[in-house]
């Protein structure tokens, strides 16, 4: 990882976009999540121990995406220039750390993903109710049949049997590049190109919550009922968004996901017990 480049973009008076790249790339995305983490930690520490007036005091919200980190701040509390200087320092520290780790070659790649870091205790990350993770989440999915009406299409389109499609879909570990579109909707990267399939020409008006789909070489699932054009191959009974829970989101940006095939009976059992992992 020799590319140290990043740049600051401006999205209005109250947002700095730290752009690390313009493509979908696990290493670029890794930097986004790492910067989000250290920025949040630095910010929390300063707020608690130092109080206002420090460089990160005005930072209010961080939004990691595929390739950039949006830093929302209060322009009446902190100047853009001050924040940019501070972020630059943090990125340089981060790059040194990443490069140091790389020379030791402790990386164990699965589908081009850096290993998850262990986090001890609940950090105050994006906010206090959504605890950060870098956790790996195994999501049970009932494939095909009424839950996955497009599995047949994907099988025909790819020339693979339905069993092979499921086998490939459950074999890989996916990275949560970012969340967006709907609350808790993960953009997952790392799908095997062999099961890529185009979107529906006419989107469905109603896709049930939990539906697992494929769109091009992307995969993901709908945390709530929604219209949508993805090819639906299965459904999970797990709730990915529960606004009344202490932690409303199953997944956080940067998490890892793997799917596990289950039968209808197990699906119903999990659903009846409240859709919890």
């Amino acid at each position: 990882m020799s590319n140290r480049e990043f740049r600051f973009l401006r999205m209005g008076e109250s947002c700095i976009v730290v752009e690390f790249g313009t493509s979908i790339d696990p290493e670029v995305n890794e930097r986004v999540h790492r910067l989000a983490r250290i920025l949040w930690e630095a910010r929390s520490v300063q707020n608690v121990h130092v109080g206002e007036g420090t460089e990160l005091a005005g930072v209010q919200e961080l939004v990691p995406t595929y390739r950039s980190l949006a830093v929302y701040f209060d322009p009446l509390k902190v100047q853009r220039k001050t924040l940019e200087e501070r972020i630059t320092t943090l990125i340089h520290e981060l790059v040194r750390e990443i490069e140091g780790a790389e020379t030791e070659k402790t990386r164990k790649d699965t589908c081009g993903i850096l290993p998850p870091q262990d986090t001890q205790g609940p950090l105050r990350y994006y906010n206090s109710r959504a605890v950060p993770s870098r956790k790996k989440v195994i999501i049970p999915v009932c494939y095909g049949g009424e839950y996955g009406p497009d599995l047949e299409f994907v099988s025909q389109y790819t020339g693979l049997s339905e069993e092979e499609v499921v086998k490939i879909h459950t074999a890989c570990t996916y990275r949560v590049y970012m969340l967006g579109f709907l609350p808790g909707f993960p953009y997952l990267g790392g799908m095997d190109e062999r099961i890529a399939a185009p979107r529906l020409e006419t989107p469905r008006t109603r896709i049930p919550a939990g539906s697992v789909g494929i769109a091009g070489s992307q995969t993901g699932f709908y945390p709530m009922e929604s219209p949508g054009g993805w090819r639906i191959i299965g459904r999970t009974p797990i709730k990915a968004f529960d606004p009344f829970s202490d932690n409303p989101f199953l997944l956080a940006p940067g998490d890892l996901v793997q799917f596990r095939a289950i039968g209808q009976e197990e699906y119903q059992k999990i659903e009846e017990s409240g859709g919890r992992l």
């Binding site: 973009l9 401006r10 999205m11 209005g12 008076e13 109250s14 947002c15 976009v17 752009e19 313009t22 493509s23 979908i24 989000a36 910010r43 707020n47 206002e52 005005g58 930072v59 209010q60 919200e61 961080l62 939004v63 990691p64 995406t65 595929y66 390739r67 950039s68 949006a70 929302y72 209060d74 322009p75 009446l76 509390k77 853009r80 994006y126 906010n127 206090s128 109710r129 959504a130 970012m178 969340l179 967006g180 579109f181 709907l182 609350p183 808790g184 909707f185 953009y187 709530m224 968004f241 606004p243 009344f244 409303p248 989101f249 956080a252 940006p253």
Partner: protein
């Protein structure tokens, strides 16, 4: 300054309003559900933050109290329990038991009386605040109705005939700055952090003096900070944006406003790998028509953003409706911040004014 310590009225029973007619789109809103954009949750909240804050101040609420956002045509409400309310924002012909009530004022509704809010005449969104704020259960730190996710407000939906709205107690209306969903200090405002002290001797009615009333109308003039992706547009594309007239299309809602007018030319293709979207950001898809992000905007998007409407002017577009004309002008960041500070001064002036009325009681 000493606030009066006597009570001109005992803490009244909570106001109760029965919805006889919901209007076109009436929702409960506050200043938004901040802190969850990383998880795909729109901040939401009131579209016209300025009008909503002023309306809350008129009944002595914190600026962050939950109120009703009325779109184009207002609801008809019957007071099942009397109380103080205020109307602000878009100018609409409102009557209380058939008698006209002025905009930008607070008044008392007697039990049994009926408030009818007609069509808006100037602007697009009116605000109705009740003293104590509307008492709905906060979801993830906010009372705002988020239609797309069906949360907040009344069961995550717009008002329906037969709904009963109940007022809250002032002490229950925690400002967003008190919410643990947010880091210290509310998003984007001096306005949200400095609360008006609860006027103990509140007795209204207050009317905002004309000099403090925001004006709405067409053409809507919006100042813009270029970026974040202005470099993905041809120089002539930027020139088109800043010299042309745009008209608000019928695809204009709480998520975004699509405008119609001369095509803004991209340099290359009109798709980017998704990155963050802020309120006020002007996205331009392949069709070349600008779409301005509003309160319920998606948190990420895959089209380049040519510029961002400055904080101080965002409320003006929120008061625009289909058919209104919009013009964009580039400004520097310094100009944008000056305008935003001026807004804070105006809010402070309204606070001082209302406080002076209280001491005069």
């Amino acid at each position: 300054m000493i606030l009066p310590t006597h009570r001109t009225a005992k803490q009244p029973d909570r106001i109760k309003l029965r919805v006889l007619d919901p209007g076109i789109l009436t929702t409960v809103q506050d200043l938004g559900r901040w802190g969850y954009q990383a998880f795909g949750v729109s901040p939401g909240g009131v579209m016209d933050e300025y009008a909503a804050q002023l309306t809350n101040l008129l009944v002595g609420n914190p600026v962050s109290a939950a109120l009703l956002e009325i779109t184009l045509k207002g609801p008809t409400l019957r007071f099942e329990q009397g109380g103080w309310i205020a109307l602000g924002g878009a100018v609409c012909g409102a009557t209380l038991d058939g008698k006209p009530v002025p905009n930008w004022s607070a008044f008392y509704g007697e039990p049994g009386s009926t408030l009818e809010i007609g069509f808006v005449r100037e602007g697009c969104r009116a605000y109705l605040a009740c003293r104590g704020g509307f008492d709905v259960t906060p979801v993830m730190g906010s009372r705002s109705t988020y239609l797309r996710a069906k949360i907040g407000g009344i069961q995550g939906r717009a008002l329906q005939e037969g709904d009963l709205l109940q007022g809250g107690l002032l002490e229950d209306q925690k400002g967003i700055e008190d919410s643990d969903a947010l880091p210290a200090g509310g998003m984007l405002s001096g306005g949200r952090t400095a609360e008006l002290h609860t006027p103990i001797g509140f007795s209204g009615p207050f009317t905002l003096p004309p000099s403090l009333v925001p004006r709405y109308g067409s053409p809507i003039l919006l100042r813009v900070l270029p970026g974040p992706q202005e470099d993905l547009f041809e120089p002539e594309g930027l020139e088109t944006l800043f010299t042309s007239r745009y008209i608000i299309s019928h695809e204009a809602d709480r998520m975004g406003y699509r405008l119609e007018g001369p095509k803004i030319k991209h340099k290359g293709k009109a798709d980017i790998v998704s990155d963050a979207l802020a309120r006020g950001a002007i996205q331009v898809p392949g069709h070349g028509m600008p779409i301005v992000m509003m309160a319920d905007h998606q948190t990420t998007g895959g089209y380049p953003k040519v510029g961002t409407v400055i904080l101080a002017d965002q409320y003006l577009l929120a008061q625009g409706k289909p058919g209104d004309e919009v013009r964009f002008f580039p400004v520097t960041e310094e100009e944008a911040l000056t305008a935003w500070r001026e807004r804070q001064y105006r809010m402070a002036l309204v606070r001082a004014y209302i406080r002076s009325l209280l001491t005069a009681i």
